[in-house]
């Protein structure tokens, strides 16, 4: 199952708008997607669990996907985080 670790560079971390965009994007895929931060794991399609990760700016998160479109889902989400959630750097 493909996985990748990225650093959240956005200044509010994986909260507020970045969290919403992340969850909305994940929800478009059929695969099961998880995101882990410091031993806490969340369902990437669940805003509530993603928020409880408490991933601040600079946090390392590991995204894992499992299912028919796993690789595409992973690439899209990684690109989203690296692109600072579409806000540039």
């Amino acid at each position: 199952m493909p996985e990748k670790t990225v650093i959240v560079t956005h200044k509010v971390g994986l909260h507020a708008r970045p969290a919403s965009v992340f969850v909305q994007t994940a929800s478009k895929f059929a695969s099961d997607i998880s995101v882990t931060c410091e031993e806490r794991t969340a369902n990437a399609k669940s805003i509530l669990t993603v928020l409880t990760l408490g991933a601040h700016q600079g946090a390392e998160i590991t995204i894992k996907a499992e299912g028919e479109d796993a690789q595409e889902a992973l690439d899209t989400l990684v690109a989203l985080v690296e692109d600072n959630f579409g806000e540039g750097t």
């Binding site: 919403s20 369902n43 928020l51």
Partner: protein, 576 residues
């Protein structure tokens, strides 16, 4: 008449009758069911109804209070459809064969407490959001209408425990003069909404305000946080005048908030902000602050059960100083002891904590507590304009010791290969009379001073500012304190060092002309005061300020100083 003080959350004065905003508690019963599928179908229908409601509320919020407030309802819609939330409810209904209301109520409470436990102001606000979504669903399931505003028939001051986004958006704004909540902080929903609407608000005013009855006459002062219950006639008259003037002054101040603070005759000073959180950085920038004159680091230490790590501190300091780019941010090292206790740091019981082991004394005594903060500051200062300041310094020796520890940390970090601030200005707070008297010597070992007038006044006048019977003696404008301030500024300038002031006095309109005249270089105040200070500074001349300052030092009492400024500098009325 009774006055309580809360946290000022949105500028302005509101005068009018109180309206107690209260939702009837929902009665959730737990009962056994036989058909889980039918139960879950009820949930699906309720979700759909809630989605439609939220869509309408979103539109309403967008028009009434702007995008920031409206986004909250977008986020709530996502919570409504959250697969983990729905999954958890489904599991309870199917496994325990209980009704959906009970399952939902438990699940919502579970998530809300999880978010609250993370001890983060932003996530606590999300806990309120999930409860808001939950009660919306429960009201739909139970067929309970939402009408907490029944009876709100005239413009009123809304009093509540804390308002949820749904509460605030439901209110008919033509009937809202101001908001007053017993709980909540400066970044609560109520505060954001009030600022968006330009309505005065005081939050965190304590339980007393909720005991007033509907219709009680009240005054809400969003500038100071004062809430006056049943004001007498004189107070009412005074506030009515202020209220009218406020509206005019506010629009003038807003126009100059992004301008530099330059007097009519070209003397420029810095107007910066006092903040105590990462969120505070945003409000300081919005208010037009040219940096941070006092970043209270205690926010990282209070209301938790263990010490913040170096990494956690580094991230917070870095986020704040980076937000200001090249503008200065002055980090004050840990100032605890005295009236600020931290449960997980073992501090001996002292008969006289204000004269005991507090602030720099505590930090020097416990390098294991101090060094992680110094290391975090040195690391965070890389690539921006972070400065460091030590509180409660009484002797030159303390500064020498603190600087030695700082250098020790720098050497360690360099050995570890971590980037550090190349040149970091180091200053001290002047808040003990001994430091003011020895300012010429202290100026030799620091780059700047920042005068803390709250403590300097209480120590100079030997009057505890938390003791109501003597607090008035220590409340600003004492000629003795102005004389000390002059001594400090002169001593620093003679050595080519600059002086700021970060006590409440810096934002007091009547004090600004005197401080300018004494040669103060930097004024640091709560963010909402910044535009007003700039408005005043831009309307007066340095020449006049020097005259006022010289006269002020020769007055015999604080009342006489106030009267003198009023008489000599009519500009303190900000054009009114």
């Amino acid at each position: 008449m009774k006055t309580v003080r809360g946290i000022p959350a949105s500028y302005g004065v509101a005068i009018g009758p109180a309206f107690i905003y209260q939702r009837a508690a929902l009665e959730i019963e737990c009962r056994a069911i036989e058909d889980p599928a039918a139960e879950l179908a009820r949930l699906a229908v309720a979700q759909e109804t809630a989605r439609q409601q939220l869509e309408l509320v979103f539109e309403k919020a967008l028009v009434e209070s702007g995008e920031e407030q409206a986004e909250i309802f977008k986020a709530q819609t996502m919570m409504l459809d959250d697969p983990e939330l729905v999954g958890a409810v489904k599991k309870i209904v199917e496994n325990d064969l209980t009704n959906v209301e009970s399952a939902l109520s438990d699940t919502i409470e579970n998530y809300a407490s999880m978010l609250e436990a993370l001890d983060d102001e932003y996530l606590s606000a999300r806990a309120l959001d999930i409860r808001d979504v939950g009660s919306r669903l429960l009201r739909i399931l139970l067929g309970v209408a939402e009408s907490p505003t029944a009876g709100l028939a005239q413009p009123s001051i809304i009093i509540a425990r804390d308002l949820t986004p749904s509460d605030t958006i439901l209110l008919d704004k033509t009937f809202v003069l101001g908001f007053c909540t017993s709980k909540g902080g400066a970044t609560s929903h109520t505060a954001i909404l009030a600022r968006g609407l330009g309505i005065p608000a005081v939050v965190g005013a304590g339980k007393k305000v909720r005991k007033v009855k509907n219709g009680t006459s009240m005054i809400l002062d969003g500038d100071t946080g004062d809430v006056v219950i049943k004001p007498d006639e004189a107070t009412l008259a005074e506030y009515l005048v202020r209220q009218e003037a406020f509206v005019r002054i506010r629009s003038k101040a807003a126009q100059v908030s992004d301008q530099p603070a330059v007097t009519l005759d070209g003397h420029r000073v810095e107007v910066v902000a006092n903040i105590g959180s990462v969120e505070g950085a945003r409000s300081a920038l919005d208010a037009g602050a040219e940096g941070v004159g006092l970043l209270r680091s205690e926010f990282l230490y209070l209301e938790r059960s263990s010490l913040p790590s170096e990494e956690e501190q580094y991230k917070s300091y870095k986020t704040i100083s980076d937000a200001f780019g090249k503008l200065p941010v002055i980090l004050r090292t840990l100032d605890i002891g005295g009236d600020k206790e931290v449960p997980y740091i073992d501090m001996p019981q002292e008969d006289n904590p204000f004269l005991g082991v507090r602030a720099i004394r505590l930090c020097l005594a416990r390098p294991q507590l101090f060094k992680p903060q110094l290391r975090a500051a040195l690391r965070a200062g890389h690539g921006n304009n972070l400065k460091l300041m030590f509180p409660m310094v009484a002797t030159v020796d303390e500064v020498v010791q603190a600087r030695a520890l700082l250098e020790e940390c720098r050497t360690e970090l360099q050995a570890e290969g971590l980037p550090t601030a190349e040149e970091m200005e180091i200053g001290i707070m002047i808040e003990i009379p001994a430091a003011a008297i020895m300012a010429d010597q202290l100026a030799e070992v620091v780059d700047f001073f920042s005068i803390g007038t709250n403590d300097l006044s209480q120590y100079t006048l030997a009057a505890d500012r938390t003791n109501a019977q003597v607090a008035k003696i220590a409340a600003g404008f004492q000629p003795a304190v102005f004389r000390l301030i002059k001594q400090v500024i002169d001593a620093a300038h003679a050595k080519g060092k600059w002086v700021g002031l970060c006590g409440e006095m810096a934002g007091e309109i009547l004090a600004i002309p005197i401080l300018l005249g004494l040669g103060l270089d930097e004024f640091s105040m709560n963010p909402p005061a910044v535009p007003y200070a700039k408005l005043l500074i831009r309307s007066i001349s340095m020449e006049k300020c020097r005259e006022v300052a010289a006269e002020a030092l020769n007055q015999s009492s604080s009342d006489k100083i106030r009267a003198l400024v009023q008489e000599m500098v009519p500009e303190v009325n900000l054009g009114e």
